[in-house]
């Protein structure tokens, strides 16, 4: 099935998604790589300057350019999600993140956290950076730029019809990964 969804994503919308479904997402996503995950775990929920539960989390360190008009996203494909497996489950529980986008698959702990908290993990094809950047309409905000640097900072992006996002873990505990091969 193909879905065209807009953030924020309600549990009802998330539950209707199944492994292998394809989503085109409109609305807000925030990027996070290794460092941002750890920082978000350290911080108190009320100290986070954006609302993770109303957006999608995108495992991505975008290639950006500063222009007179502000930041511009040049290329923005996904990074390997599995590097975040260690902390993903805790982050999902802490912030109620309903939609995670990345590449390469994740592990059992993430799959179970998504089932318990009604979330999905979706894959965007790795390396498809130019097309992903074309789906970004505006850079709404950037957080922790000085602390983490451009690559690891959290970029809040407004996207339009961002996809194809392939559902790899659905909220029913199922996985699309080949032979159920999950990272440990």
């Amino acid at each position: 099935m193909e879905y065209h969804l807009t953030t924020p994503l309600s549990p009802e919308k998330i539950r209707q998604l199944h492994c292998g479904d394809i989503v085109y997402l409109t609305g807000e996503v925030f990027t996070a790589r290794d460092k941002a995950h750890y920082l978000m775990l350290q911080k108190r929920r009320q100290d986070i300057p954006f609302s993770p539960s109303e957006m999608a989390l995108y495992h991505c360190g975008p290639l950006v350019k500063k222009t007179k008009a502000g930041w511009q996203v040049v290329s923005a494909g996904p990074t390997t999600s599995n590097r975040m497996e260690e902390v993903m489950g805790r982050l999902i529980r802490k912030y109620n993140i309903p939609f995670i986008i990345g590449k390469g698959g994740m592990g059992r702990r993430t799959r179970e956290a998504l089932r318990n908290h009604v979330g999905v993990y979706a894959a965007y094809p790795g390396g498809v950076g130019a097309l992903a950047a074309d789906a970004v309409q505006t850079v709404r905000d950037v957080f922790w730029l000085r602390e983490l640097g451009v690559l690891e900072a959290v970029w809040v992006l407004t996207v339009k019809e961002f996809g194809p996002l392939i559902i790899v873990f659905d909220a029913h505990g199922r996985s699309l990964l080949h032979n159920n091969a999950e990272h440990q």
Binding site: G20, I22, C60, G61, P62, L63, K65, V74, S75, A76, G77, T79, T80, N82, K103, G104, G105, A123, P125, G126, G127, V128, G129, A130, L131, A132, A133, D134, G149, V150, L151, P164, I166, V168, L176, L177, H178, N179, A181, H183
Partner: protein, 286 residues
């Protein structure tokens, strides 16, 4: 087109590598796309579309513009050997803002990113000498996701080529979707530990589809390709017939007690470009 200014030439080389894939890779992706169906096909279609958009808009196809790895074969009579390392480094810094490239180099001790894609030993340059007065430079921007799947196996010599095949297939299957398949797998057999890994990386410079000139090695390349693709991992690890586009092996003589096997994986964005600098200072990006 012949032009002057070696730094400008290297920036042009980097621009080509980051924004245009070699035809052999595009053709291999197209062939794979025609064979696949379902999710595998959808992904290969969008990969091919992305390649086109990146080229037309002059943007890096992938946001991970990599660590810049240069392979230089320098004619010993070239008057441009002196200062070439500095030109390469200056070109990488310039390209970082001009193309642009993502700032990817991090100090392994302090964790600081200088923001210009250079640093200790980086850009990485592998030197080779040849007769004549031309300098050939190939750049291989190497992304982190695929590089993380590099492996070294110090096998027992009694394992033989069958052992080599088993080791490589196991490691690539274990890597799953992480290195952005369909990948190109470079393998170095023999030498010592360092040479095996170096040869594995250099094997990635060979065009996709080109077999090793030694028939037994060529046969091993085919067998490993078939065996990995039979695993069904597929594009991005979500299932399919194409896990690797090709497997390239390079060999070196080994110690009788060792059978080193190096593996270096390259993602589908097998970015590479080559230029030549002539003795009169003109250059061409091939």
């Amino acid at each position: 087109m012949k032009q002057r200014g070696i730094k400008a030439g290297i920036v042009a080389l980097l621009t080509k590598a980051e924004t245009e894939l070699p035809h052999d890779v595009i053709n291999a992706l197209r062939t794979a796309c025609s064979r696949e169906k379902g999710i595998a096909k959808i992904q290969l279609e969008i990969i091919l579309k992305n390649i086109q958009v990146a080229r037309h808009t002059g943007r890096p196809m992938c946001q991970d513009t990599g660590i810049q790895s240069f392979f230089v074969t320098a004619g010993v009579k070239s008057p441009y050997l002196s200062g070439l390392t500095a030109s390469i480094t200056a070109a990488v810094k310039h390209a970082t803002t001009a193309i642009p490239l993502r700032p990817n180099t991090v100090d392994p001790v302090s964790g600081k990113n200088p923001g210009d894609n250079t640093g200790e030993h980086i850009p990485a340059i592998t030197w080779d000498l040849c007769e004549g007065d031309d300098i050939w430079i190939t750049v291989l921007p190497k992304g982190g996701g695929s590089e993380n799947m590099s492996r070294l196996g110090m096998l027992k010599p009694s394992a033989g080529l069958e052992g080599v095949q088993q080791f490589v297939v196991e490691e690539i299957v274990k890597a799953g979707g992480s290195p952005c398949p369909p990948t190109i797998v470079g393998i170095g057999i023999g030498g010592g530990a360092d040479l095996a890994v170096k040869l594995a990386k250099q094997a990635l410079l060979r065009p996709v589809g080109q077999r090793h000139q030694n028939r037994r090695v060529a046969t091993l390349e085919r067998k490993i390709t078939q065996s990995i693709n039979a695993s069904g991992i597929g594009p991005m690890g979500l299932g399919g017939k194409t896990t690797v586009l090709d497997v390239h092996i390079e060999t070196a003589h080994r110690h009788p007690a060792s059978l080193p096997v190096g593996i270096v994986v390259q993602c589908w964005a097998d970015r590479r470009a080559t230029m030549v600098i002539h003795a009169d200072g003109t250059w061409e990006v091939k």
